[in-house]
């Protein structure tokens, strides 16, 4: 049985000519991996990833990736994904990442290199492999920090990434910095910004993102600081109302995790600054919001894990309950669309290294991270709601 589909074309032949870089040597270094996840969601009120209030199988994730290292210093990595998530994603195939990596300097304790192309964004602990259920803490990511409505924007961007990893006896340091343009093809991005879909389009402009990750004792303690300035520009085309607009999104994320054999304690805190300027017809708006979650996971056995999480999202720190927002006559949206407090209890069963089944229940106050595409009438959203999710996932 092949756990790892690596093409060992001629290992025996190579034994005679070790060291020489041949075509076989280059071809040997190709890996293929894939994953498929199907989820079922049921909500007492409101819709998330499909018509979940009636029970929905709309949420699935399917991906395949390859990594080819033709020489010691060069790598090519590509991942294609088809993902459906109700009206917030459409199941079409897209390139999630595709980049060339060149290693500038490798020693037995450090690694320095550059990646060019579409690369995953190192945001907090969970963003880089967010579509692979096994790497998520639970069935759904904590939505206050990992908004699934803007998933493509968060996941990867197009540009140049520099990385530096330093490994020592007890302490490891990993640093990444990117200069890139964000992806903007999320169906939900315009509604989230403007209240409705607009005839024009949002395009990414020059942005930067950086993360420092410190790990003590091989990940027993993990600490990370992420900072970014992501910029988008509205190109109006034939939009009769909004003729221009610049969006700047500046999150700072602090992450901390403590791991023992049985326990995993995690917290992440984010302050998000959002500025929408140069709208001409509309006044500029600036918002500062806070997100955080606290999470405890306990391993009952090697394959069973139980998890409890509290996740909090506030859109506007100056109007935490959305009272001021609700009094605006132009946007007849209830105040509870401006926050979400989510308690989650989950159970995860790792059948083996390929198969995973997980389930969780959410008890939520507020609708701050729900999609307007799936809940088109905000006034009809319910403040108190529950969500049940179960996921079956396979990966190789």
């Amino acid at each position: 049985m092949k756990h790892h589909w690596q093409l060992h074309l001629s290992t025996i032949l190579l034994a005679g000519s070790a060291g020489a870089v041949s075509a076989q040597d280059a071809l040997k270094e190709i890996d293929f991996h894939g994953f498929a996840t199907q989820s079922y969601l049921y909500s007492s009120e409101n819709n998330f990833f499909g018509e979940s209030s009636d029970g929905s199988f709309d949420f699935f994730e399917l991906g395949i990736n390859t990594l080819w290292a033709p020489t010691k210093k060069l790598k090519l990595a590509v991942q294609a994904v088809a993902r459906d998530a109700g009206n917030t994603d459409d199941g079409s195939i897209r390139l999630d990442y595709g980049f060339l990596e060149y290693q500038l300097l490798t020693t037995s304790s450090s690694n320095t290199g550059i990646r060019v192309g579409r690369v995953v964004n190192p945001l907090g602990f969970y963003n880089e492999s967010r579509d692979v259920a096994a790497t998520r803490p639970g069935t759904l990511l904590p939505q206050s920090i990992y908004f699934d409505v803007n998933r493509n924007l968060a996941l990867s961007s197009d540009g140049v990434f520099i990385f530096y990893d330093k490994f020592s006896e007890q302490n490891d340091l990993s640093f990444q910095l990117s200069i890139a343009e964000p992806r903007t093809r999320d169906p939900d991005l315009e509604p989230a910004l403007f209240g409705t879909s607009r005839p024009g389009s949002l395009e990414g402009t020059t942005s930067w993102l950086g993360r420092v990750l410190y790990e003590h004792d091989f990940g027993k303690i993990r600490l990370a600081l992420t900072a970014a300035d992501l910029n988008l520009e509205y190109q109006p085309k034939n939009d009769p109302i909004i003729r221009d607009g610049d969006l700047s999104f500046q999150p700072i994320i602090l992450s901390a995790q403590y791991n023992t054999e049985k326990w995993e304690l995690t917290t992440e805190w984010a302050r998000r600054k959002t500025e929408l300027t140069n709208l001409e017809v509309l006044p500029d708006w600036k918002l500062a919001g806070t997100s955080y979650f606290l999470q405890a996971a306990y391993r009952i056995s090697n394959s069973l894990t139980v998890q409890l999480r509290y996740d909090s999202l506030v859109w506007d720190n100056d109007d935490k309950k959305g009272e001021e927002f609700a009094s605006n006559p132009f946007y007849p949206y209830p105040g509870y669309t401006r926050y979400a407090k989510d308690w989650t209890l989950g159970l995860r069963w790792d059948i083996n290294q390929h198969l995973l089944i997980s389930a969780e229940v959410h008890d939520i106050k507020g609708t701050g991270w729900l999609s307007l595409l799936e809940n088109p009438n905000p006034a009809a959203m319910e403040k108190d709601w529950r969500l049940f999710a179960v996921t079956a996932s396979v990966r190789f």
Partner: protein
């Protein structure tokens, strides 16, 4: 109004695409399930039972790190070994592009290797591997089902590294000394 109309149309298309994709997904998942996972799980668990009976008790002392006979290096620092088995560094002295072999996550020898030599846990290693393999930044190690297969692969693959319990060791591979 225009915006709303555009939106509705896209939803219809979306649902049609999603519907056909779903069948593709179910087929894909079933194939994987039958081909890789179940056959593997049965194989692995039956071999574990034999080995755990044999070795219960003093497993901790009895694991050796092994490498191919052609490897020039004789010893390795534990923190370098950690980086190599985490698949984040494939270099060891003069050796480059190391081939890493491991036993399945729930194999008792893998468990005691990660605990007593790497000073971590199988689930931590798995998480490190997955995070890298699914973000395009790293590779997964080669998984072998039994210790016999481990010895055979390391003996026959240049630039390779693995581990076995002492009584499975044969001199077709070389024991690596751990630097304390």
């Amino acid at each position: 109004m225009l915006a709303v109309y555009k939106q509705d149309k896209s939803i219809n298309n979306t649902q049609r695409i999603a519907f056909s994709k779903k069948y593709a997904l179910i087929g894909f998942a079933l194939t994987l399930l039958l081909n890789t996972s179940f056959s593997g799980a049965v194989e692995e668990s039956s071999s574990h039972i034999d080995e755990s009976k044999e070795n219960s008790g003093q497993r901790k002392e009895s694991i050796v790190v092994i490498t191919n006979l052609m490897t020039q290096e004789e010893s390795i620092a534990v923190h370098n070994l950690r980086s190599i088995f985490a698949m984040r560094l494939r270099r060891w002295g003069k050796e480059d592009r190391l081939e890493v072999f491991v036993l399945p996550d729930d194999h008792p020898t893998h468990s005691s290797f990660t605990k007593s030599i790497l000073h971590t846990f199988p689930h931590n290693l798995r998480r490190i591997w997955d995070r890298r393999a699914y973000s395009g930044t790293g590779q997964l190690p080669n998984v072998v089902s039994t210790e016999e297969e481990m010895i055979e692969k390391v003996s026959n693959t240049p630039n390779s590294i693995g581990y076995v319990t002492k009584h499975h060791y044969r001199d077709s591979a070389k024991v690596v000394e751990l630097e304390r």
